[in-house]
Symmetry: C2
Subunit: 712 residues, 2 copies
């Protein structure tokens, strides 16, 4: 399969000789012309098994064009202006002509056939973390540290009593825990019938606060942001279940240590069992536990997964709609992330997908055909294509194009899918398929808006080189300067991320080009982006080579990229720069200080400088604790390498970065000052780990200027 | 007198054709060769009326060279190693052969004649703000917020009870108040006999804390530093008197408002009256009050001084040693700072000095001849020379050289003075004079160490131009590049401070050259430094022209300097830069944003950005409050001018600056980001308002590099 795609990999995007030159206003999402340069789009949704198109004015049937409900009509029925766009009108029930709108202050359901309001409820003041169950119409929400439930009928229950109501955040209920690691993004979980609510309680009274200073106040004010640093005391999480009818809470009798991780909460279809993937703080021993929701006691331990390095549960159980004793589970136990069918009665696993590729996402089920639909990069490591696995037959079938990067949205019964994708020379394609036959129709194929509007577009290619281990294929994207002349030598900038759970090169439009790269290409730079070992979708070994020594192998791979670049006649080896943000800021600073002769200029954003200042969950997974792995922490610490800095390095950070706290950058500055080296610095007060809107434009003007000043 | 000195003013420092090139290590006080390039020195002190020379090993009579006490002998007598250098051995009593040493943990007095320890006392643990009275040998000190007195006999009294013992600093005793403005530098004041202690109590519980973040901790920690910002709630000060014998405190019954200023505390010679210069918060109404130290009640109001703009008491009363009813007072009431003789019985004032110059310091009295000795710039605005005023005769007599910048130290009876000075071509001169006859001898004339060691020295000149008012003389220093060629055009850097209570140009060695300027001159820059209106020693009107609009007139004057520079054929008008720190950082940023075409490059250190973020005392004196003077604050705020930034401006600040808090710089960044302009930035974590030691070298390497990058 790989060899078949070889041509695609090296095939370059067509060079178009446009007239206009891209500016930052064109290529950055905060730019004032960015929206005009997005590929044409079609906004789709489902009403049960009916595909919909939403517009600013209405919701209509996609295939017939019949209007179902307009914004105007919704407001007429509601008797007030609550709907503002067709995109925000939900048709939540496939069997009912009900449309729902949520504003900042209320939820309204109307029946567009009957022309009446069927249900409406104000949202309580200050309600955060809203979790609305469409079936029961009960709403879970939090106010400060406490959790509340507002029933369909309007009855409010205060589920928790001891949540912090001051600004301490010592004890919080119903919020995401474990700093959003392990796939966790919320803290409330309704049972399928919407009558029970599982929720997290997090006690972080023992966690140190990181001082975040808000300079926008009349007098700068400080907030102590709970931030458990690697090796330091972490928070403690419990799980409770609130029964709406009895208004009582059952607490699960969790096993293990108080600072264990309780991840990927899943309900059994009958609501009698709750499944939790539990992990020790060392993250090398994971157990799938089943709890009796009535008694809170352990029903059974279904599975255990251990690994010398780490185990990282990222997905909960997905029960088969037609068999409540079986669920889809994802695991990297064979070295790649694959699908398994778990029998919850006996913990038996049946592997559903195999191979040196990874399942990226489960899309859902075709209930009638008894298929599970998923995205994987089986076609090529850079792709994400849609497949169907019939649970009865050990066969995976590609649905839609076998190229590009897809996302998919299933109809209620899973027999139809709206498939969206882009490919290196295809900005956007939207298709409607039958998930059984794979047949369907194209809904939209967008033209290249840059080309259409007459912009000069750089040549963008992708290819592979060998990693520093001499064996592994690594994929790169190369962006050549506009008006490229192979006899010239160009200043070259390596953009890098390099950390786990992310990649920079894939087979989406322009090989996943970042707009800034196109801008740099118009200014005469060559850009090179390589996904080193440690990055995502390449399997466990590929990722775990970095264990206990983050940055070391990643840098070796990036230096293979440098070697490759230096072999190209049009790359000016004396004018090489490097830029990256977050983990990429760590990589940039590491490269500048570890290989000081390789890069003349670097721009590092929001960098990790020493992993001891990073959070427990992510940090200890890859590095263990500073106590367990002192030599690893020392080896990777840029505080020890500050003295090696030779080229020009600008570090930029969000002044209120809650992720890579400012202590990283500031400690590095202190180390450079003590060592007599001279980095440069910039910061965005009020911004966090990333810059958005106009700040993003400002930031990239700044980054560009730095390369212009010292590399060009 | 002025015209006589005209030649001196324009006389240039000799150009010497050395071989060696100055480096930052040579010219910065934190540099590793700085100490080798200091002019030769002689360390002197007094033992009563006997002039002494101190060395690392001993204390000897200056004139005879007879050794009085060696470090070795001191320790032999003390029975322990407490003395480490002759410079730290004090001979406190002119009539006794007693030598005193203070270590970190004890005070020891020995009799070098008798060869015994006469008194010794350990210093209490954690004692801060130590105030030791030599007469009574009582020690006042503070621990956290409370004040203590340890008597000569070793008895400890806790003077205050409600001082803060946590880290809040809400209530503090015995510490400097009013943020060290009004000449205040301490919080305890012994009566002449050392048996009563006047002290400050400052309640700052109502003052907002500014969050200062310490990133050197394992997890960054915050301290809330009490910082009353202009227009915000200020602290409240009271004055108490502790009687050592009775161990009781009498509180003065202060008049006025709770946030008035109580400055320049002075004791009457008999210890029965305490004098305080009291000032309203608006700083335009000053009263000299006399309090009965027994009852705490007001004895009388001796004087009142009002001014439309402000009155700024900076000096206390100095009672005549031969007449306890009269004291020397300083006042700017006639437009210049002059000496007055105050009769404390009736408040009558007799003016002792007159003229368009300022008295800079009272040195002391010749008790026998009944003269007061003082420094003034009567000879030339840039000088500080020693004068004597016989109180019986209205005549001021110059003592010593009528050039240069002097400091003076009197013998106990004031009949002899050790006079130290330097002049533009004279690195150091030390002389011993009879204060009555003015006769004496030269003790040391230092040679130019730069010249001696064969360094290339730039040409350094001083001259004057007219201020923007067309009338006032402003003085400048110009440093020409080494190997100056008048046919070339040089990049030129204006160094600026520009604020009150400071000057940059005087007639000391090299016209008060800062080492960095010499370094820049070796790199081919021309430097120009102009003391604009608003700076010190030029009288009230000269200073107060800036009232309610800081920066405006100062910038106009600096632009006159620019005009002058542009008239010089060897100044490259297209390559002009500006650099300054603190008020000079404010000026630099103001100039870059107000006259964006004048300067291509600026480096601003620890700048004020908006006076509303500056402290009450200094800020409101010059700007009134933001409530009283909103248009002035708006006009001077650089937040409003951030949009004008055009050239390259680097702002550098101490990350823990307690004076110009980081909110200044960070708010400016935010304003620039919002306006789309691009300043540069650097910070020194752990440093305050200024950098010292190696950081100072690092800083100037950085500043230099910025000019090299963008101006050269």
């Amino acid at each position: 399969m790989r060899s078949k795609l070889f041509f695609v990999l090296l095939m370059m995007v067509n060079i178009v000789m446009g007239q206009k030159t891209l500016t930052l206003e064109d290529v950055m999402s905060g730019g004032n012309n960015w929206h005009n340069l997005r590929p044409e789009n079609l906004y789709t949704a489902w009403w049960g098994n009916t595909p919909l198109e939403t517009t600013a004015d209405e919701v209509k049937e996609l295939l017939t064009g019949n209007s179902l409900i307009s914004v105007e009509r919704f407001n007429e029925i509601a008797g007030e202006k609550v709907a503002f766009s067709g995109h925000n009108i939900l048709l939540p029930y496939g069997d009912k002509t009900i449309a729902q709108v949520r504003t900042g202050s209320k939820r309204v359901q109307i029946d567009w056939k009957q022309g009446n309001v069927v249900w409406s409820q104000p949202i309580p003041d200050g309600a955060a973390n809203q979790d609305f169950n469409l079936k029961s119409r009960h709403l879970a929400y939090t106010v400060k540290g406490n959790l509340y439930v507002l029933t369909e009928e309007g009855q409010t229950s205060q589920v928790s009593q001891d949540g912090s109501v001051d600004d301490s955040n010592d004890i919080v209920y119903g919020q995401s825990v474990h700093r959003d690691e392990f796939g966790i993004s919320k803290g409330t979980f309704w049972s399928p019938d919407g009558q029970q609510l599982a929720f997290y309680r997090m006690d972080q009274s023992m966690v140190a606060g990181y001082p975040q200073v808000d300079i926008s106040q009349r007098i700068a004010a400080v907030t102590m942001d709970k931030y458990p640093m690697a090796g330091e005391t972490s928070h403690q999480v419990r799980v409770g279940i609130f029964n709406v009818a009895s208004r009582r809470v059952n607490w699960l009798e969790l096993i293990g240590e108080p600072d264990d991780y309780h991840t990927n909460i899943s309900w059994a279809p009958d609501g009698k069992t709750l499944y939790i993937f539990e992990l020790n703080r060392d993250q090398n021993d994971m157990r799938l536990m089943a709890y009796d929701t009535e008694t809170g006691k352990v029903r059974k331990q279904l599975l255990q997964e251990r690994h010398d390095k780490y185990v990282e549960p990222m997905n909960g159980l997905l029960f088969l709609p037609w068999d409540s004793s079986k669920a889809i589970m994802q695991s990297r136990r064979d070295g790649f992330n694959h699908l398994y069918l778990l029998d919850v009665n006996n913990g038996k696993l049946e592997q559903l997908t195999y191979g040196d590729f990874e399942v990226q996402e489960v899309v859902g089920f075709n209930t009638k055909a008894k298929c599970v639909l998923y995205l994987s990069n089986a076609m090529d490591p850079r792709t994400s294509c849609l497949f169907s696995r019939n649970l009865a037959k050990p066969k995976c079938t590609l649905i839609g194009a076998g190229e590009g990067v897809h996302s998919a949205s299933l109809s209620e019964d899973g027999q139809q899918v709206i498939d969206r994708y882009s490919a290196p020379t295809l900005p956007r394609s939207i298709n409607l398929y039958d998930t059984k036959t794979g047949k369907g129709k194209n809904l939209l194929t967008a033209k290249d808006p840059w080309q259409e509007q007459g912009y000069k577009i750089p040549e963008i290619t992708s290819g592979s080189i060998k990693a520093a281990d001499g064996q592994t294929d690594l994929y790169y994207r190369m962006v050549k300067p506009v008006d490229f002349d192979p006899t010239k030598k160009y200043p070259t900038v390596v953009y890098v991320y390099g950390g786990p759970h992310a990649h920079n090169v894939d087979a989406s439009w322009h090989w996943c080009l970042r707009g800034w790269e196109a801008y740099m290409a118009t200014k005469g730079y060559l850009l090179f982006i390589l996904d080193n070992r440690g990055s995502e979708w390449r399997g466990r070994e590929f990722e775990q080579v970095t264990f206990r020594q983050l940055g070391v192998e990643e840098m070796k791979d990036q230096m293979e990229g440098v070697k490759f670049l230096k072999s190209l006649p049009y790359v000016d080896a004396n004018r090489m720069g490097v830029h990256g943000w977050s983990y990429g800021g760590f990589m940039t600073t590491s490269l500048m200080c570890t290989y000081p002769d390789a890069f003349k200029v670097g721009v590092a954003g929001g960098p990790v400088i020493d992993w001891k200042y990073y959070e427990v969950m992510y940090g200890e997974r890859y590095m263990d604790t500073p106590q367990q792995n002192p030599e690893g922490y020392e080896k990777c610490s840029l505080l020890n390498k500050a003295k090696n800095l030779k080229g020009r390095l600008q570090i930029i950070f969000g002044y209120n970065d809650p992720t890579c706290v400012p202590q990283h950058t500031l400690s590095f500055l202190r180390a450079c000052e003590d060592a007599g080296t001279q980095p440069d610095l910039f910061t965005y007060p009020g911004d966090g780990h990333n810059m958005f809107g106009r700040d993003q434009v400002h930031l990239h003007e700044r980054i560009t200027r730095y390369f212009d000043d010292y590399l060009k």
